[in-house]
């Protein structure tokens, strides 16, 4: 009885990769995974495109956040003889050797979500192009939206805070730079603050910050989990719309609620579905017909505010936003 079961199991292992041999297989090696709701939309885009193009896809990452696992997963993808890889570049030096190794094997690589900070220069990684938001523009967009809303209400922005939840992430640093580039010339100080993806802990950190800086009335959060932390803090402190001007990056149903009720001015969307979907499409097209792009695809910043939030809410329920 046990022997038959073992045989069946081995047979299953035999068959599963064997039938997959004629199809393309692509791997995504990124710094984040299904533990963060943001990535689930990218994964859905990836999986939907995989169905459309009839290819195999695999998501290789730490469940929440890790840069140090990336070179190992890249080596695994190369060992797996994939036909294409989608990567993020939060730290190009950490993955440089593994990426070059993949390139030596002739595997095309597309960057998604977090651009190579050295792109276009002599230290650029050997990749095809970038699919994702312009982080810098996204940061700027939030800054501009905050200033505009404050002017509408007749208030002045005294000071701003910018909590960062993933350290060493070059994309988040680019958003910060964009944000500062609008506010600092206007004479507004912007404080950086280190938080985490743990909502309760981060809410506590925000509370401590605002206690020490009561004149701060502008904040930009960089994801759904940090936004949750901000909402937890502002509820507990009884803040009203107009006390603090809040804009955020990325999306979640909770963020949309707060846009509708006026607590949040806008959410800058990088359309993560496109990042997953388009990466698979172009890896397929590159393998099948040798096609590629000579310019990046900017999937953001796309501004979600009170004017378009309802339609977006419908789509989010289906997992596309």
């Amino acid at each position: 009885m046990q022997r038959r079961f073992l045989l069946g199991f081995l047979l299953l292992l035999f068959l599963s990769p064997a039938t997959a041999q004629e199809r393309y297989k692509f791997a995504f090696v990124t710094h984040g995974g299904p533990g963060n709701p943001f990535w689930n939309v990218v994964i859905k885009g990836m999986e939907d495109a995989a169905k459309r193009y009839d290819v195999d896809v695999q998501w290789l990452s730490n469940t929440t956040f890790s840069i140090e696992d990336m070179p190992n997963f890249l080596d695994d993808a190369v060992a797996n003889k994939v036909n294409g890889i989608g990567i993020t570049c939060p730290d190009p030096e950490a993955i440089r050797e593994s990426v070059e190794q993949a390139r030596e094997r002739g595997i095309p690589i597309i960057v998604l979500n977090t651009a190579d900070p050295n792109a276009g220069g002599p230290d650029a990684l050997p990749t095809e192009f970038y699919v994702g938001a312009s982080e810098f523009l996204g940061g700027q967009s939030n800054a501009k939206a905050i200033l505009a809303e404050a002017q509408k209400r007749g208030t002045k922005i005294q000071r701003a805070v910018y909590p960062i939840q993933e350290l060493g992430h070059s994309g988040l640093e680019a958003r910060f730079a964009g944000f500062k580039s609008i506010l600092e010339p206007a004479g507004i100080t912007v404080d950086g603050l280190t938080i985490s993806n743990n909502v309760e802990q981060s809410a506590g950190l925000l509370k401590d910050y605002f206690l020490g800086h009561p004149q701060t009335n502008a904040i930009a959060t960089l994801g759904p989990l940090p936004a949750d932390a901000y909402y937890l803090f502002s509820e507990e402190e009884g803040k009203q719309p107009g006390d603090i001007f809040h804009a955020t990056h990325d999306t979640s149903p909770v963020i949309f609620e707060h846009i509708k009720t006026g607590y949040t001015i806008q959410a800058v969307d990088q359309q993560p579905y496109l990042q997953g979907y388009l990466t698979v499409s172009f890896l397929y097209l590159n393998n099948a017909y040798g096609l590629t792009l000579s310019q990046d695809i900017l999937t953001g910043p796309f501004s979600i505010n009170a004017s378009n939030v309802d339609r977006i809410v419908e789509l989010m329920a289906k997992g596309y936003r």
């Binding site: 081995l10 292992l13 035999f14 599963s16 990769p17 997959a20 995974g33 299904p34 195999d56 695999q58 998501w59 290789l60 990452s61 469940t63 840069i67 140090e68 070179p71 190992n72 997963f73 080596d75 695994d76 993808a77 190369v78 060992a79 797996n80 003889k81 730290d91 030096e93 950490a94 050797e97 190794q101 230290d123 960062i164 350290l167 060493g168 950086g192 280190t194």
Partner: protein, 397 residues
């Protein structure tokens, strides 16, 4: 009945036998499932490269566990010492001195663990749970804004060591002579353990190879300076072998060999087993158990620092969360390798096999397209199975 008893006895004797059996079976399963991708240099080098760093940490953890203690702070020590290393390096300090800072940091943090243990008498599990958080706070607060440090921001060129050729030649030759001398004497006694002899044989071969290379390269111009890329020396690609094997594997093997010798062939090693097996007995027979414990904590901190520096050599950056979560994976690998949580019994070779096994699981699951979320679950399941088997085998005792 007799054969199963004999097998049981053999398994109970060598902790690594169980781990080796487990490793072989899992290897076989993956090899049968995806021979084209698993039995390749790419896959094997991917496994070994990623596991060299935790493998080095596992050495220290094994010594501690055999002596009856836990160290949950190794991940944080790794993070703090790699931070000390790179911070010094990007502030203009010579790379070797910077590395010494890192190693010193590891030793001191480990020493603090040990002293705290013997001064307070609180179980090491609790002590190191606390220091895990404290040491992590060092990394988190040390750099303002919590940014990561990248070597590339400091210099585009890798850190270089310039050593006169003659020094290298003398050092390599000395190593070879010492190994030869040790091997000769060990060969004389008939009962020396087989695994130790095998390890020494490999070490000797490798040393002979190094000596030959050094002679060929240096003799023509003995006083010329040899330039060595420091990062490449620690964790660079090994060009002499086909595939993507990295130097970290050699450091892992080398350090394991050294500590296997210390653990199984020296008085200190015997003291470690005694302290873990029956601390009171060890004490009554004149062994200084506190010294054994503190020394092991210092070794564990030192090895965590070594692993951290080798990891920096590959990633070329340090972030404040470096090393988080590593302690649990390493403990799982050590337990799979046959070391008992209760102390007094264990094997470094088993830990090396256990570490390789967990890496093999990850790569293998990637190759057979299992979702990577299952990875941690699989390691946990295998660890439980390993502990059950180990206990069954030892039940008679």
């Amino acid at each position: 009945m007799k054969t199963t008893d004999a097998i049981r006895n053999r398994l109970a004797r060598s902790p690594e036998a169980g781990a080796a059996a487990g490793f072989s079976s899992i290897f076989l399963i993956f090899a049968l499932a995806t021979p084209n991708t698993f039995l390749t240099n790419s896959a094997i080098s991917s496994i070994l490269n990623s596991q060299a760093v935790p493998g080095i940490v596992a050495i220290g953890i094994t010594l501690l566990m055999i002596s009856g203690e836990f160290d949950l702070s190794v991940g944080s020590i790794l993070g703090a010492s790699s931070l000390a290393f790179l911070y010094a390096a990007v502030n203009g300090i010579h790379i070797l001195i910077a590395a010494s800072f890192g190693l010193l940091a590891g030793c001191l943090l480990g020493l603090f663990n040990g002293l705290l243990l013997i001064w307070t008498g609180i179980p090491s599990f609790i002590v190191t749970l606390g220091t895990m958080l404290v040491y992590r706070a060092i990394s988190l607060t040390a750099i303002s804004g919590g940014r990561i440090i990248r070597y590339a921001d400091y210099s585009r060129e890798p850190p270089i060591l310039e050593i006169p050729g003659i020094t290298i030649l003398v050092a390599v030759l000395a190593l070879f002579v010492i190994l030869l001398w040790t091997a000769k004497d060990i060969r004389k006694t008939p009962d020396r353990s087989l695994s130790t002899q095998i390890l020494l044989a490999f070490a000797l071969l490798f040393s002979a190879y190094l000596t030959l290379e050094a002679i060929i390269a240096i003799i023509p111009q003995p006083f010329a300076f040899v330039t060595i890329d420091f990062f490449s020396m620690l964790n660079g690609r090994l060009d002499i072998v086909p595939g993507n094997y990295r130097a970290s594997i050699l450091w892992w093997t080398g350090l394991t060999t050294v500590f296997v010798l210390i653990l199984t062939q020296t008085r200190f090693g015997n003291a470690i087993f005694a302290t873990g097996g029956n601390a009171q007995a060890a004490r009554l027979q004149g062994i200084n158990i506190n010294r054994v414990r503190v020394t092991n904590f210092v070794i564990s901190g030192f090895l965590a620092a070594v692993a951290g520096i080798i990891q920096v050599a590959r990633l070329k950056s340090v972030d404040p969360l470096r090393g988080t979560g590593m302690e649990l994976e390493v403990i799982a690998a050590v337990v799979i390798g046959g070391t008992l949580l209760t102390g007094g019994y264990g094997s470094l070779i088993g830990s090396a096999i256990g570490t390789a096994l967990t890496g093999m699981l990850r790569t293998g699951m990637v190759l057979i397209q299992v979702p990577t979320n299952a990875f941690r679950g699989a390691i946990g399941a295998i660890m439980i199975v390993a502990v059950i088997i180990n206990n069954l085998v030892r039940k008679e005792r």
